[in-house]
Every structure is written in C-alpha cells, then in structure tokens.
C-alpha cells in the first residue's frame, strides 16, 4: 500500500538554525500539506500546496517558514531560523481530491526539538 514517508524521524537543532524537513507524498497525489502537533496538543494546519504554489497557509506559517517541491517526488518544509516554540511533531500529508475523495494520508512525522 502506498504511503507518505518523512525524513528525518527526529531532528535536534539549536535555536536560530535552519532546518529542512523532507516528505515524499504518495506518487499520484496532487495536494500536499504540512501540519504540526505540539506535544499533547491537537494537530494544526500549517500550509497546503497545489500546482507548485501555496494554496493556503495559517497564521502560524510566517516568513520563517517556506515550502518547496524541488522535484517530482519530494516536498519540503524549511524553517529559516528556528525558535524554541517550533519544537513539535511535523506531519506531511497528501491527498488526491479528484472525485471528492478528500482523504488525506499522513506520514509518520518528524519530531523537531529546538534547544
């Protein structure tokens, strides 16, 4: 069964450093998302991406964040200058909303710890 994969599974970084989280969505999917989950809290939407551009972003997704689809398979989330409050689990998701499917498939997540 096809699945969304994410690397790395864990990332520890110093405050102020740049991090890039990587995702490989399911191959025939067209819509890509990043969500985050601070420990013990709900999953929050960050950004959605379709047709090589951001289609929607939340207020969390400020200028420190960017997304990119550098090739036909990878989808990345970059945090330019990490803050302590960026520590969270980051999930990538993808969907094929043709025919109104609306099902989003989540990757296993990257646990980011900012020290």
């Amino acid at each position: 069964e096809p699945e969304v994969t994410q690397t790395p599974s864990h990332q520890v970084t110093q405050m102020g450093q740049e991090v890039i989280l990587r995702c490989v969505p399911i191959s025939n999917h067209l819509y890509f998302y990043w969500y985050r989950q601070i420990l013990g809290q709900k999953v929050e939407f960050l950004v959605s991406f379709y047709n090589n551009e951001i289609s929607e972003k939340s207020e969390i997704f400020d200028d420190q964040f960017s997304v990119e689809r550098p090739d036909g398979s990878n989808f990345t989330l970059k945090i330019r200058s990490t803050k302590l409050e960026d520590s969270a689990m980051y999930f990538c998701a993808s969907s094929d909303t043709r025919q109104g499917a609306k099902t989003q498939y989540f990757g296993p997540g990257t646990r980011l710890l900012v020290l």
Binding site: V4, Y31, Y33, Y35, Q41, K42, V43, E44, F45, S48, Y50, S55, E56, S58, F91, A93, S95, T97, K102, T103, Q104, Y105, F106, G107, P108, G109
Partner: protein
C-alpha cells in the same frame, strides 16, 4: 467559527464496552467530517468519515452518528478492544480552498482487558 470542539479529553473503557466520543462545530459550511486515529509516535490515520447529507455511517465496529441540526457528530466504537487504545481526533473541512483539516483537540482512549 472554524473550531471543532471535542469531548471527552480522555476515556477509559473496558474491553467489550462501547466508546463514545463527541464533537461539535459552529460553521455550517463544513462539508466533510473525518475521524482520525493516532497511535503514539505515529501520524494520524483516517478511520472513517461522513458527509452532512448522511445521518449515520458504519464501518465494522466504528460508527459515526451525525446530527446536522445540532451541529454535532460522534464516533461510536462497539466491542472496544485493547488494540483500539489510541488518540482519536475528529476533524472537518470546508468545500472550498484546499480541504485543510481542522482538528478537534483529541480524545485519548484506553481500553482495559
């Protein structure tokens, strides 16, 4: 307006019992209501979903009941098993934009033998 409220925060059920988790929303434009199951250290996985033109959907031991007039929906897990122990999130999406998921706060379910 775009919130989904979920209760209870945690739930303890004996094996074989019925687990019930409730969600409520305000925005009547929501058009799709999925439930996600999350095991520790894993990403959320779609469990079951419903659209507002249906009052109930059943898949195996899992049933969603949907009350459009009350703007509430609930997940029922029949014959709960220890393997069902996980965190459950209700969610909702809007029919336009990007189908971003708006999640509830989650319910941690523990099923004891």
């Amino acid at each position: 307006q775009q919130q989904v409220k979920q209760s209870p925060q945690s739930l303890i059920v004996q094996k074989g019992g019925i687990s019930i988790i409730n969600c409520a929303y305000e925005n009547t434009a929501f058009d799709y209501f999925p439930w996600y199951q999350q095991f520790p250290g894993k990403g959320p996985a779609l469990l079951i979903a419903i659209r507002p033109d249906v009052s109930e959907k059943k898949e195996g031991r899992f049933t969603i009941s949907f009350n459009k007039s009350a703007k509430q929906f609930s997940l029922h897990i029949m014959d709960s098993q220890p393997g069902d122990s996980a965190t459950y999130f209700c969610a909702a999406t809007l029919p336009y934009n990007t189908d971003k998921l708006i999640f509830g706060t989650g319910t941690r379910l523990q099923v004891f033998p």
